[in-house]
């Protein structure tokens, strides 16, 4: 291109240097766009108006619970619902506007794109929070308010807002609005269920540790959730030849290991719940990954002596996902044994404990069996994950129906026994419908072997290709220069 003659407007520079070059390009873009949208302006004005109204109500009737309730309601509604929902089309709109291809051709990878969008939305959320702080201070001077508790609550809402925003951005990768809506509803339901379970274990009376440690563990799970859902979106907009799987799986393991430290603070029950959440999310993602066999992806593993072994667990694709599943199961097993030293829990001397443990693992694995039985021809990342979620949802509903029908019948045990091939039903049978542990153990073991073996057997050609590529990827492919 011909060299520029620099006679153009000097104001050009001032108009594009409003944000430092150190800011993420996506953050700059999203902030420039986001601050101009009507939704942001309207939400900000509405929140300020309601805050003033709540304040007036507080002044008129000091100590009023209603004014207090409204105060928090508007903050929660804005930060946990309105703000996250702005990310509903964050990635799909890039497809609709034909800009995703253009962005992918820059130096931005999937992670930087999703992180930039998340940061921009949360920066705007932070503006909302900052706008609320003066009212918090004024309420303190009006009395009947514990400022520290309010700040902790505001922090928890901020973290929750970050998690919800990550969920909406992660699920916005699906172009179909109905699928996206359903998935978002499922993810919100999942997040709400987990939050309530965590709230019970963290803030309830069951944990033995202090509330500080439990709160930190709760925050750890929240931070992992944010990383997971952003990575979820990132890996689906990245080219298959980019390896995001290793980082995702290693991150999950690091978070699990950090969580294990909390065993020493006497909060083992919470550690178990958090470990299950982290590994569960990581495994669903790993087991539904497509199987790209690119020398670019496998070559870095071959540079190290133990690289082949690392690739078996951490390279992209569901085959290594199965190996990662075994590693995770071993970690969870270890975590339970470690927790057992501090609290009363499963010692695995009773076969029933093993049945429950295997069945929990089988709950994660079982949809994979159905996918490889009926949908093995579909290699799409979006499709497999969507099918997995719907199968898991379907199995959950089916289990509830079987239990409900079983309980309504006089000989309910027969029906329950007939359906113990479903891992979730087996958990119920082991816990409630009378112990027959040796038989249950046999069923659980058979299901595990079937769930692990069938996909490998069905896709044996791909498995052979994967191991062959692992052995034969030439190291010189790591360099593009010829």
């Amino acid at each position: 291109m011909s060299s520029a003659n620099s006679a153009s407007s000097p104001s050009l520079e001032s108009r594009i240097t409003d944000f430092s070059s150190r800011f993420s390009p996506v953050l700059v873009k999203e902030l420039r766009q986001g601050m101009r949208t009507n939704l942001f302006v309207i939400a900000f004005i509405l929140l300020q108006t309601f805050m003033i109204l709540c304040l007036i109500a507080g002044i008129a009737d000091p100590g009023s619970r209603d004014a207090d309730g409204f105060f928090w309601f508007f903050i929660i509604a804005t930060l946990l619902v309105v703000q996250p929902l702005r990310g509903f089309a964050a990635l799909s709109s890039e497809y609709q506007m034909n800009t995703m291809d253009l962005v992918q051709l820059t130096r931005l990878n999937g992670w930087r794109i999703t992180l930039g969008k998340w940061t921009a939305l949360n920066a705007q959320g932070l503006l909302f929070l900052t706008g609320v702080l003066p009212y918090l201070v004024i309420r303190y001077y009006l009395g009947n308010v514990n400022f520290v508790t309010d700040l902790v609550a505001l922090g928890a809402i901020g973290l929750g807002s970050g998690l919800m925003t990550a969920i909406t951005i992660g699920s916005s990768v699906f172009k179909n609005i109905i699928l996206r809506g359903l998935l978002l509803a499922a993810m919100f339901f999942f997040a709400a269920s987990i939050s309530s379970v965590l709230s019970l274990t963290v803030f309830g009376t069951r944990g033995r540790g202090t509330q500080l440690e439990s709160t930190l563990l709760f925050a750890l799970a929240g931070i992992y959730g944010i990383i997971f859902f952003l990575s979820f979106g990132a890996s689906r907009i990245s080219p298959l030849s980019e390896n995001l799987a290793t980082r995702k799986r290693v991150t999950a393991l690091v978070f699990v290991l950090i969580a294990q430290l909390f065993h020493f603070f006497g909060v083992s029950e919470q550690v178990f719940v958090v470990t299950c959440i982290i590994l569960g999310l990581a495994l669903i993602d790993a087991l539904t990954e497509p199987l790209p066999i690119f020398s670019r992806v496998l070559a870095p593993f071959r540079k190290h002596p133990l690289g082949g072994l690392a690739a078996l667990f951490f390279s992209p694709g569901w085959i290594s996902g199965l190996a990662f599943f075994l590693l995770s199961a071993a970690l969870l097993f270890g975590s339970l044994l470690l927790g057992n030293t501090g609290i009363s829990g499963p010692d695995f001397k009773d076969p029933g404990d093993i049945v429950l443990f295997l069945s929990m693992c089988n709950v994660i694995l079982f949809p994979l069996l159905i996918i490889h039985l009926f949908f093995s021809g579909h290699g799409s990342h979006h499709f497999t994950f969507g099918v997995y979620v719907f199968i898991q949802g379907g199995l959950f509903v089916l289990t509830l129906m079987i239990i409900a029908i079983g309980n309504a019948l006089s000989q309910y045990e027969d029906l329950i026994y007939l359906c113990t091939a479903l891992p979730s039903v087996l958990i119920y049978a082991e816990n409630e419908a009378g112990a027959d542990s040796p038989l249950h153990l046999g069923i659980a073991l058979a299901t595990t072997v079937l769930c692990l073996g069938f996909p490998l057997l069905r896709q044996r050609r791909k498995v052979r290709e994967f191991f062959a590529a692992l052995k034969s990827t030439p190291l010189d492919n790591a360099s593009p220069a010829e």
Partner: protein, 327 residues
């Protein structure tokens, strides 16, 4: 990156036995071709012929089912990041953002390409001046006309000064003025030594710009060569426009009695003939026979074969023989 970079001796684009299938549909069927550095190559084919699929693979946005594709010697599948720094991609549907001005749009992509500080401002300024976007700097991108949008899209593709430009139907939907402006910009880029790989289904659009033309039909390359070689065709015939004093029917009657001459279409006083030769001696003999037959020839002029005619002729030959023709 310039010619001294990695793979400096390699062609700009090298495609070997490339296949792309979507379940049972084969969009690209084993195509192979090479584009030398600094050339402008037109990629021609009907809608659905496989142009965009090939270009998307070339731009690292899709994957081949089989075969290899290299840009300046670098494999597009194994090293997409490296290839992206070498290519500038302009899709058929350019993307814009709501609530974003032209200047902010280019600033976003310049930042995303890794430009910082003064260098970023300078690159944006150069590109805006080259594509004449300075007067539109504060215009919202979703309010631009098609022609302005295409200039913006070209500007974005040029931000990192790529070695190879991949332009998918850049002139589609443009008015004549915008089309001329775009052609002018591409010509300047070609003069500066950039390799331009440009697709279209309008042959006349590419004729003036391209060094060579690549024809693709149903996922297969059916011709690779200059527009001149395409005009000459593979049949070795030439077309002449003939004017007579007599009515045009006389020319048809005469052509029907001569096996080496084919009557194409007639006018009131003449018509067009296809002669099965390009040799001047043979053509001279045929003209002499025409005059000897009593026809009063007032004009006998060789017509330049239209690219569209040549393309259709090649398609006809493929249908007849079932074998692709690649010159």
């Amino acid at each position: 990156m310039n010619a001294s970079g990695p793979g400096a001796a390699s062609p700009a684009i090298e495609v070997t036995n490339l296949w792309r299938s979507f379940h049972n549909l084969h969009a690209v069927r084993g195509i192979s071709f090479t584009v030398e550095r600094g050339k402008v190559v037109g990629f021609v084919g009907a809608n659905g012929a496989g142009k965009t699929t090939t270009m998307r693979i070339l731009s690292t946005l899709d994957y081949p089912t089989a075969g290899t594709m290299k840009v300046c010697g670098i494999d597009v599948v194994d090293f997409p990041t490296e290839v992206r720094s070498l290519i500038g991609w302009m899709p058929d549907h350019y993307g814009t953002y709501h609530h974003m001005t032209v200047l902010e749009y280019l600033d976003f992509f310049a930042r995303a390409l890794g430009y910082k500080g003064e260098e970023r401002v300078e690159r944006i300024r150069e590109v805006m001046e080259f594509t004449d976007l300075v007067p539109l700097a504060d215009r919202l991108t979703d309010k631009l006309s098609k022609g302005m949008g295409q200039r913006l899209c070209l500007g974005r593709a040029l931000l990192h000064d790529p070695e190879v430009l991949i332009l998918d139907e850049p002139a589609a939907g443009l008015d004549p003025k915008a089309r001329v402006e775009l052609k002018h910009l591409i010509r300047i880029l070609a003069e500066e030594g950039k390799t331009v790989f440009i697709s279209s289904h309008i042959l006349s659009e590419l004729d003036e710009m391209c060094d060579t033309l690549l024809f693709i039909n149903q996922g297969q390359i059916i011709h690779h060569g200059s527009s001149e070689s395409l005009r000459r065709g593979t049949s070795g015939s030439s077309i002449f426009s003939v004017d007579l004093i007599e009515p045009g029917d006389k020319l048809r009657e005469w052509a029907d009695t001569n096996p080496d001459v084919k009557f194409l279409d007639g006018t009131r006083n003449g018509g067009r003939l296809e002669i099965d030769s390009i040799e001047p001696e043979v053509i001279g003999t045929i003209l002499r026979r025409m005059i000897e037959a009593g026809l009063t020839v007032t004009q006998f002029r060789q017509e330049e074969r239209k690219l569209e005619d040549a393309f259709i002729e090649i398609l006809g030959q493929i249908e007849a023989s079932g074998v692709p023709i690649v010159s």
